[in-house]
């Protein structure tokens, strides 16, 4: 169902008219962004103790608030935004299980290019999953998820953008239970955002 909603909204965004009057989208202090991204989790077994090959589809609805006007006058010119993201993972491997988390998120968006805006982001927060009781790396169901990555937004209109990006994701319980080896994964994703 969520996939259908995503596809319908994506098609609506793609078929929206592109306004030529404003050469660049004007994102200022206080501009809010809501978005939805969908990705697929690919495992990284970084040590010999990591044996689980967790995989699954990831949904990430998010909200962000722009905190600054563009900083700097060179290639690094950009804006800081802060927000929150829900993370839902439906693990397909090694078992069909679920995970859900809530993460505050901070993002730096490079604004030197007009409609193409690369960004770097970091998010972290609590994460619940029933996978971790069934694998050797983790024991408890209450965990934390940390993710850091980069991506690029392409503004279709002044208020709508398509995003693609990559995140490195780490799930562990912060030493609250043992074992706590942690799960690491790559998360390529795509999505869209609306600015208002």
């Amino acid at each position: 169902m969520l996939v259908y909603i995503f596809l319908i909204t994506l098609m609506a965004a793609l078929t929206s008219p592109i306004y030529a009057a404003e050469p660049t989208p004007k994102i200022t202090v206080g501009t809010q962004e809501v978005g939805l991204s969908v990705g697929y989790l690919l495992p990284h077994r970084l040590t010999q103790d990591h044996t689980t090959k967790q995989e699954g589809i990831v949904f990430m609805p998010s909200w962000m608030m722009t905190l600054s006007d563009p900083i700097g006058n060179s290639w690094y010119r950009g804006q800081v935004s802060l927000g929150a993201e829900m993370v839902y993972i439906q693990f397909q491997e090694p078992f069909v299980t679920h995970g859900v988390g809530f993460t505050p998120k901070i993002k730096y968006t490079f604004a030197a290019l007009d409609r193409i805006r690369p960004y770097a982001e970091f998010a972290g927060g609590p994460f619940w999953t029933d996978l971790t009781g069934k694998i050797p790396e983790e024991s408890g169901q209450f965990n934390f998820v940390l993710s850091a990555g980069f991506g690029v937004s392409y503004f279709l209109t002044d208020q709508a953008a398509l995003n693609i990006g990559y995140r490195f994701q780490h799930i562990s319980n912060g030493g609250t239970q043992y074992p706590n080896i942690g799960l690491n994964a790559s998360l390529p994703y795509g999505g869209f955002s609306f600015f208002y």
């Binding site: 202090v29 206080g30 608030m65 905190l67 800081v80 802060l82």
Partner: protein
């Protein structure tokens, strides 16, 4: 019994949420009182002695860089000038002009805007707010400073020139959930209006200089008009209150 046990934490949580959301969504604007602010001036001038005004140029810089003057700013400037009633008609360069032989006053306005968005502070405080899972959002405010320096050159029909300057600045303070582009626009609008008012107040003090004659012909009925500046008092705007509702009448 069960109702009593659960009601206190529940009521406490609801109150905390209401308080948190209420203060987390707040914003307020402060305008600094100009140290050289003169008291509002008004005068009564003869209607027939007034001449047209031509707004020739508006130059705008933004932190030292020249920018095209926004249309809304041009309208705001013309609106404030018209509200003084000092001039008989108001023309803008590029539109219809007064006739060449008609006495007129030519106005050239230069506006230097100084913007300090405190971007580094916002990033750091944003990180702290995020790390606290937004629980600190009601207690940490973000700031945006805006200032305007205006210099006005008024040239009379006979070539005599007078110059005026005015400065104004203010700050917007807002919590994370109270951030909005409207807050910044309100700050800019108020600072600009305060600066324009200060500038035109000085012009009103010289109102005789811009009239074709300080005396009315005898025997004719004298029609007069009161000229002055609508002053907006620099003050803090109550939290989350629309500016339009709190403007002085």
């Amino acid at each position: 019994m069960m109702g009593k046990i659960f009601s206190r934490p529940l009521i406490g949580s609801v109150l905390a949420m209401i308080l948190g959301l209420g203060t987390g969504c707040s914003h307020w604007i402060e305008l600094a009182v100009p140290t050289d602010a003169a008291p509002p001036t008004s005068a009564t001038v003869a209607t027939d002695a007034r001449v047209p005004l031509l707004l020739e140029t508006i130059r705008v810089t933004h932190n030292g860089s020249s920018i095209a003057p926004p249309t809304i700013l041009e309208r705001q400037v013309l609106g404030v000038i018209e509200a003084t009633h000092l001039f008989s008609q108001h023309y803008q360069s590029g539109y219809s002009q007064p006739t060449a032989d008609q006495a007129r006053v030519t106005m050239r306005l230069s506006i230097d805007n100084l913007v300090e968005p405190h971007a580094g502070q916002a990033a750091w405080r944003g990180f702290v707010i995020g790390a606290s899972m937004f629980t600190l959002a009601p207690f940490i405010s973000l700031n945006y400073d805006y200032g305007a320096e205006m210099s006005l050159e008024m040239e009379r029909w006979d070539g005599q020139i007078k110059q005026y300057t005015a400065t104004s600045n203010g700050s917007a303070h807002y919590n994370l959930f109270g951030a909005s582009p409207d807050v910044i626009e309100q700050l800019k609008g108020q600072v600009t209006e305060a600066c324009l008012s200060s500038l035109l107040n000085q012009v009103i003090q010289d109102s005789i200089f811009y009239l074709t004659s300080s005396e009315q012909p005898r025997g004719n009925p004298i029609r007069t008009v009161s000229v002055g500046v609508r002053h907006s008092s620099p003050r803090a705007i109550p939290m989350s209150q629309p500016i339009a509702d709190s403007s002085p009448r």
